[in-house]
Amino acid sequence: MPAITFIHSDGKSDRVETGDGESAMQAATRHGLDGILAECGGNAMCATCHVYVDESWLARLPAMADDEDALLDGAAAERSPASRLSCQIVITPDLDGLVLRLPERQV
């Protein structure tokens, strides 16, 4: 199973194994990671699963849908060109090793 790394806002990092067809958000919450709230449970309705995708990975992710784009404007932490909603990133084998940075706040 592919593994991905979350880097917390204080610089500490956590590497988590992902399950079949899981999103990055689901992998993070299943491992009890702080820093991702996911209030809407992955329905792309809350923007509390905001992450900054490591630059080297950015282009390799599928493009975002309009609803994700609109929600990111309302995220609690500042939006950057690397911003994504982790519930919308499904981890496929080619994303093994993906690095995601966590914002300072989600609400």
């Binding site: 209030e39 809407c40 992955g42 329905n43 309705m45 809350c46 609109a70 609400v107």
Partner: protein
């Protein structure tokens, strides 16, 4: 745990038939033992009293919510099947709609109630919460339902919508009709609909563009007509959705949170020690009490759900509250823990119809609980709480409390 829904043509396994009425007064008084019976009987049950299928485990409730092509909403999300009966009011263009119609109206309400909009109303909602707490501190002893759970949303939500000051006393009675009407034709539903005419007339009038103040959620919905996203006849009905679903739900949500925090003083202390837990304390109350207890779907085809075969055109009752306390999904489901990871609870639903007002509800809950915990050391229940009975909503009619200021 996975629950699957796929078409099947062979044999129907023994679906347990239960003699349970989940819309009876004695059920509402204490639904938890029956919720357990429903969950333990099997993944899918049949309720002979109303001739409907039921799902009460988390996995199946989640599966039904997330398969809207098979379990549709356009035939009504109450017991009444719109294909067989005339709805008591023109159907909702969002709640009682399926894709692609739902997709279009939903996009409009999502924009009107987006995280960006919440940032704009946050300060106003916070100031009103602090004012309410000032007034309660003056009183010391009060009814936490009327003076807090109702008074606070009433002080902000109608204004946020842009409603006129006159006639607002119709709002909660109207919502109570709407949520009773999802139930079966019992006394609660019949009486509610019989008395609904004046409330319906008020609501229909307020949904018109000229009656909604500029800048409010209502006017924002109408503005989408100009962009061509919805028609001028659709806009009032979408405003109606916010009037139906946006007030009484948060009254019961905030009421649930106060009732929990008053009953479990250790959790109140934790909140006082760390105000950043306020949002989680509200969310956990929505899981624990599930202010919206149930919704129905109707099958669009024969389907197999966790081994049970359900035919086409059948009503399926989803017990959101029972799913939110399913021990298969939740650790210590019957304890109220404000630090719990609540992500994934179905108190706001799940999937395409998941509550479009969830950000409004959470904002109200968060700022109200923060304002209370900042200023109040203790909340004590000083009299017997009285329950309010509704076919869909769970909450209290009164909760006498006395507070000790910090």
């Amino acid at each position: 745990m996975s629950a699957s829904a796929s078409p099947v043509s062979t044999g129907s396994p023994g679906i347990p038939h239960l003699d349970v009425d989940p819309f009876a007064m004695n059920f509402f008084a204490d639904p938890y033992p029956t919720h357990e019976v429903l969950r333990e009987a099997g993944p899918v049950v049949y309720l002979d009293k109303w001739n409907v299928y039921g799902v009460a485990r988390y996995a199946e409730v989640h599966a039904v919510l997330n398969d809207p092509a098979t379990f549709c909403s356009s035939r009504g999300v109450g017991l009444s099947d719109f294909k067989k009966e005339t709805p008591w009011r023109p159907p909702s263009l969002i709640l009682e709609a399926d894709p692609p119609a739902h997709t279009r109206t939903r996009a409009v309400l999502s924009k009107v109630l987006s995280p960006t909009v919440m940032k704009q109303v946050r300060d106003r909602f916070t100031a009103a919460a602090e004012e309410r707490v000032d007034a309660l501190i003056d009183k010391r002893s009060f009814d936490a339902v009327a003076d807090l759970a109702e008074a606070y949303p009433l002080s902000i939500f109608p204004d946020a919508l842009g409603l006129k000051p006159e006639g607002r006393e119709h709002l909660i009675p109207y919502a109570s009709v709407v949520f009773n009407a999802f139930g079966p034709p019992n006394q609660l539903r019949q009486e509610a609909i019989e008395r609904s005419a004046p409330h319906q007339a008020y609501v229909a009038e307020q949904c018109q563009r000229e009656n909604l103040a500029p800048g409010g959620f209502g006017a924002c919905i109408h503005a989408h007509v100009d962009e061509g996203a919805i028609t001028a006849t659709e806009a009032p009905l979408l405003v109606r959705s916010l009037l139906s679903a946006g007030l009484d739900t948060t009254v019961n949500g905030i009421g649930a949170a106060i009732y929990c925090l008053a009953r479990f003083p250790d959790q109140w202390q934790r909140l006082r020690d760390d105000l950043s837990l306020a949002r989680g304390a509200f969310e956990e109350a929505v899981r624990f009490e599930s202010p919206v207890q149930t919704f129905f779907r109707t099958t669009t085809r024969e389907v197999e759900l966790s081994g049970a075969t359900i035919g086409e055109g059948e009503k399926v009752l989803m017990f959101l509250a029972a799913a939110n306390r399913d021990p298969r999904r939740w650790d210590k489901p019957d304890s109220y823990d404000i630090t719990r990871r609540t992500s994934g609870h179905v108190g706001f639903g799940s999937g395409i119809h998941m509550c479009v007002g969830q950000l409004v509800a959470r904002l109200e809950g968060e700022v109200m609980l923060t304002a209370l915990a900042k200023r109040i050391a203790k909340i004590e229940i000083t009299g017997e709480p009285k329950r309010r009975f509704n076919n869909t909503l769970r909450g209290l009619d009164s909760l006498p409390v006395t507070i000790t200021p910090a």
